[in-house]
């Protein structure tokens, strides 16, 4: 009897948090389905559901272009970040060399520095490099990240050394060992970093905002923020549709790959 009471409480708790988490999405979805003739807040459920707002977002509000820009940025950032981080993490996990600790500490330190401290110099630098309004300019902070290096290093440290030793005896060099033996073993971590890089790049706002002056280079986040400058009347329906369009790809990638999504903090939290 007592057990069932606890079970019921547990389910109530779980369902309460489901409402809190999903609620905003549901309201946004219902808002986005309201037709042009419908009042914005007169009723919660759309009387005559239509996908008009989604078509308007794509055709008139240029979200088709913003989508392409965002996809390109992500397609550059994700593979490069995985490659650079998995390379850099290897000597930090497996080799002894002069300066290793300095490198480790420097990388940790950059993680703790708020972006807002150096956004002005970065804006200046990227402009001087001719990367304003470019795809590379958008992703300079998402490639070779300190976070990624640590995530992957943590994963390398769990692999037994014996595997590499036997490969070295067979005459393989460090790059071959890394690429053929080590990398395949940490596939879940690589995918996890991929998901993180995807979501960071996909949702990044402040840096793309200041580095993008040409609206042909807008990403979804900037386009959406721009659209929300007039936050009233029927524009709210359009903002809702555009918000969901911006979220769905990110959500879909996560759901598709979530079985690989490993507890990234494992080991990092050991007391």
């Amino acid at each position: 009897m007592k057990m069932t009471k606890n079970k019921i409480l547990l389910y109530l708790l779980i369902i309460f948090f489901v409402f809190v988490t999903v609620g905003p999405f549901v309201f946004t979805l219902l808002m986005s389905l309201k037709g042009p003739a419908e009042g914005v807040y007169t009723n919660i459920f759309p009387r005559d559901p239509s996908l008009d707002n989604y078509f308007i977002a794509f055709r008139q509000a240029r979200f088709d272009e913003y989508l392409i820009n965002t996809v390109i940025a992500v397609l550059i950032a994700v593979p490069l970040n995985i490659l650079f981080c998995s390379l850099a993490a290897y000597p930090l996990a497996r080799m002894d060399f002069k300066g290793k600790n300095v490198i480790l500490i420097t990388i940790i330190a950059t993680m703790a520095v708020p972006f807002q401290l150096f956004m002005a110099p970065l804006f200046n630098l990227v402009g001087n490099m001719g990367l304003r309004n470019s795809y590379i300019g958008l992703i300079v902070l998402q490639v070779g990240t300190a976070f990624g290096i640590f995530l992957i290093r943590q994963s390398y440290l769990t692999i037994p050394k014996a595997l590499e030793e036997s490969a070295y005896m067979d005459g393989a060099n460090k790059f071959q060992v890394w690429f053929r033996i080590i990398l395949p073993m940490i596939k879940p971590t690589l995918i996890t970093l991929g998901i993180y890089t995807f979501t960071f790049t996909w949702g990044d706002y402040l840096w793309p905002l200041i580095n993008t002056t040409d609206n042909e280079m807008y990403t979804l986040s900037i386009g959406l923020a721009q659209l929300s400058q007039s936050f009233d009347g029927s524009n709210i329906k359009l903002i809702s549709a555009a918000s969901l369009l911006t979220t769905i790809p990110s959500l879909a990638i996560f759901i598709w790959l979530q079985k690989y999504f490993v507890g990234t903090t494992k080991g990092a939290v050991k007391g």
Binding site: L87, A88, Q116, Q258
Partner: protein
């Protein structure tokens, strides 16, 4: 084994040994290049600019000592921003530390379909921050769900937008931050919870402990390392909060949600980059101090726990 191999006067092996001094650096090169150019160099430059009167268009500045710091410390808006940033942390820190523990404990139970709930709780984390801010802004308007809810609950005489009230705006913004981060911190706690063995809970059950007692006497103390991590992340991330303010209140009403980051952004937009850099250094010092204090506090606690 490798040592003996290298000792053989085999030319091929010798060659590999010579190149091995460079090998780690070859692996590090691409990432180090990116970090040096796009993080370290601009960070050092920000320190330079903070003691100069740097003009970004002219591309030059003269040394002015601590003038920029003197300027911000005399600016009442800066103090307002600093206070708001700290107030924001004071509200977010306990919520970010404890709500995700409750959620993580709930989804750590052996209940059917729990994997689905984990995915659901994580969905705000992968939602772009701009979207989160706008969705909540829609809920907060007078005719929106929260706008009406506060009236329904009798907190206000009429439907009210909490984002537009000086007294509640900052609090309303924290809700968005907590909502967005809940799933992320839940995952951190889940990893921590998995290291607590079932036997501890079983023993407590035999002694007649209630679920609430087990939560406070076992779960929370055993999660101390995760709590440290979440606290530090909350301090560092909470100080950087931008979208949920910029896209809802824009720092208003009447500066009620102008945090340090909003202050810095406004200075940057006016091309007062040296002032922005000085304020940025204050932000960095806050983040570093908060993290160090948190680490110190918790290392003490953990020692107590280990006895």
């Amino acid at each position: 084994m490798r040592l003996t191999l290298n000792k053989q006067s085999n030319v091929k092996v010798k060659k590999r040994k010579e190149s091995s001094v460079l090998t780690p650096w070859l692996f590090l090169l691409p990432a180090l290049l990116m970090i040096s150019v796009f993080y370290i160099y601009p960070i050092l430059q920000a320190f330079m600019w903070s003691v100069q009167d740097y003009k970004i268009i002219a591309g030059e500045g003269a040394f002015v000592g601590l003038d920029n710091f003197r300027y911000i410390f005399q600016d009442s808006l800066f103090w307002r921003a600093l206070t708001n940033s700290l107030l924001f942390l004071v509200v977010v820190l306990p919520l970010n530390v404890f709500l995700p523990i409750i959620v993580a404990s709930a989804v750590n139970q052996k209940v059917k379909g729990i994997g689905l709930f984990r995915v659901i709780y994580y969905s705000p984390v992968v939602t772009p921050m701009v979207v989160a801010a706008l969705m909540w802004r829609m809920l907060y308007v007078e005719s929106g769900f929260v706008g009406n809810l506060v009236h329904f609950l009798g907190l206000y005489d009429r439907p009210t937008n909490l984002l537009m009230q000086t007294s509640t705006a900052l609090f309303a913004v924290t809700v968005i931050t907590v909502w967005k981060g809940l799933g992320y911190y839940m995952m951190i706690y889940l990893a921590g919870l998995q290291s607590i063995s079932d036997e501890v809970y079983e023993a407590a059950s035999i002694d007649g402990a209630s679920p609430i007692q087990k939560f406070f006497k076992i779960t929370v103390p055993m999660l101390a390392p995760s709590i440290t991590l979440v606290s530090i992340m909350t301090i560092i991330n909470g100080l950087k909060v931008f979208e949920e303010i910029a896209l809802t209140t824009g720092g208003g009403p009447a500066g009620a949600t102008t945090t340090l980051v909003i202050y810095i952004f406004d200075k940057f937009r006016n091309l007062e980059v040296s002032t922005a850099s000085a304020a940025g250094i204050v932000l960095l010092v806050l983040a570093a101090t908060g993290s160090v204090i948190q680490l110190k506090l918790n290392s003490g606690k953990e020692k107590d726990l280990k006895g």
